[in-house]
Amino acid sequence: MSWFRKKNPRIEVVPTDERRVKTEGQFCKCPECDAAIFKRDLEESLQVCPHCSHHFRLDARSRLAMLYDEAEYEELDDEVVSSDPLHFVDTKPYTVRLEQARLSSGLPEAVINGRGRIGGHLAHVAAMDFSFMGGSMGCAVGEKITRLIERATAERGAVITISSSGGARMQEGTLSLMQMAKISAALAVLDEAHLPFISVLTDPTTGGVTASFAMLGDIIIAEPKALIGFAGPRVIEQTIRQKLPKDFQRAEFLLEHGMVDAVVDRREMRAFLIKALNFMVNPAAQVEAQTEAQSSEPQGSLTSDPDRNGHRQSPATDLKIKAQSKAQNQST
């Protein structure tokens, strides 16, 4: 028997996993400079560390809100979602992986399409989200970006893509690969119409996304320190059996090698894009491109007779023709 008797009940020990501090969840640590950042500050600075300017990853919808005038935009093509064309099964069926991705990311697909105005210019923006299966590009992502480009061509808007992707989606096999060609073909038509395309590269952009639309911008810009490349660093290390230099494939490395126009801080992004659009949006150039196309033979799918080649036209195609005839009336 002990000499002293405890009058007060024992302090109950809270199990470690239930312990809470008042500031719990209010702060996070910057992986770059180790500073504790108040989360609300981080939100206000667009997920950029206020101390060292480290760029955290940003979700697709915040990306769109951050770029559009008054953060107002219309979200489009949400009905386009991945199916499972190959009935792909690895350790889990692809359909299960898709469902998990939708639940955990809260997104319908790895890209979100927006339409609205940036600095007063009509702009169609596709923002990719790495949290949805590594931002990988399957048929639905390819289809959404293609629809965005076709819509911009029809409505005479600018296209901006914000890439964040590991590349083509393995679970849709060669069909994913074909999306690279599909999007590039749509961009070629946009290009012929003298409409702007700005590609924004964020961390990380690799594989099939880099080797198609992401590198085809009239202007290509990158966020600081973003990993950008064709092959991923692990693949390269395995091939050459050497450790890679620390800043290899970072945005600044690409800038040095002439692969991007500028490395732009996220907080300056909107202002940069408006300046670029002010330069690039020029109705006079667009009218010129149209009369050129009309004086020579029809230049492609969007103006050809649908019955002759037996393909039906998408609604975007109809819009384009309407937009064209309208522009014709204005120019004559």
Binding site: S83, A168, E172, S176, M178, S212, A214, S301, H311
Partner: protein, 278 residues
């Protein structure tokens, strides 16, 4: 005899991974072998006029059944020395830019383009990244989608992802029955999704990378039969079957007026994998 075939006549007893191994068979005919069998007066054109020549991608002018055409194809090597020289058929940016230059030359002189796809993939290395591997491939996709002249693509061996697609956009895509065309190598896919690269034969099955599967998915237009056990058993017979198939395809697409051909090419790409959306 029709060089193309429907699903039923294809040899279905061979597994996907066996086809991967046949596509990589060291005795399988390569681009230069087919050039010798199929063309006359071949003249090789070298260099991208910017940095270097890339021996992993062979380009040139030639006569195909008397008709001047541009030829572009990946080239692997037969022995160790050649393989190193050809970088195992893995092009660097200068290879894709050389191909682009030759395609633009073909466009200028209104000559059709025939490409041969046979690569494990575009080269993943420091120098290739520095010189813009991704950009080089991307530009080719864009330009090939709008080229005014006919483009016939023949997948003769390995169709390795973006490295294959970089010279693989065209009006007609022909594929040998034992050739494969995939977004990633079965070994790479197994290493990532199964975390075990020995599961390659399973991933090869899942990836649907065989000619039969891709014909069904609409990626490939024509599947070409191979002699008995595979193309490596008879180069001459393989060349004859390929020749027939390319000639048919070229005749077919050459008849179409250029503007309409570009429109059809666009629509073909446009409908890749859109089964559920439109």
């Amino acid at each position: 005899m029709d060089a193309s075939m429907s699903d039923e006549s294809a040899n279905s007893s061979v597994s996907a991974f066996e086809r991967v191994q046949l596509a990589r068979h060291p005795e399988r005919p390569y681009t230069i072998d087919y050039i010798e069998y199929l063309f006359e007066d071949f003249v090789e054109l070298k260099g991208d006029r910017r940095f270097a020549d890339d021996p992993a991608l062979v380009c040139g002018m030639a006569l195909f059944h008397g008709r001047p055409v541009a030829v572009i194809g990946h080239q692997k090597g037969r022995d160790i020395k050649q393989r190193r020289h050809r970088n195992f058929g893995m092009p660097k940016p200068e290879g894709y830019r050389k191909a682009l230059r030759v395609m633009n030359t073909a466009e200028k002189f209104d000559r059709a383009v025939i490409t041969f796809v046979d690569t494990p993939g575009a080269y993943p290395g420091i120098d290739a990244e520095e010189r813009g591997q991704a950009e080089a491939i991307a530009v080719n996709l864009l330009v090939m989608s709008r080229l005014k002249v006919p483009i016939v693509v023949a997948i003769i061996g390995e169709g390795g992802s973006g490295g294959a697609l970089g010279i693989g956009v065209g009006d007609k895509t022909i594929m040998f029955e034992n050739a494969v065309y995939s977004v990633i190598s079965p070994e790479g896919c197994a290493a990532i999704l199964w975390k075990d690269s020995s599961k390659a034969s399973q991933s090869a099955e899942s990836l649907r990378l065989t000619a039969r599967d891709l014909y069904r998915l609409g990626v490939v237009d024509v599947v070409v039969r191979e002699p008995s056990e595979g193309s490596h058993t008879s180069h001459q017979e393989s060349a004859r079957l390929l020749d027939e198939s390319i000639l048919n395809a070229l005749n077919e697409v050459s008849k179409i007026p250029s503007a309409e051909r570009i429109a059809q090419r666009y629509q073909k790409l446009r409908h890749m994998g859109d089964g559920k959306f439109l």
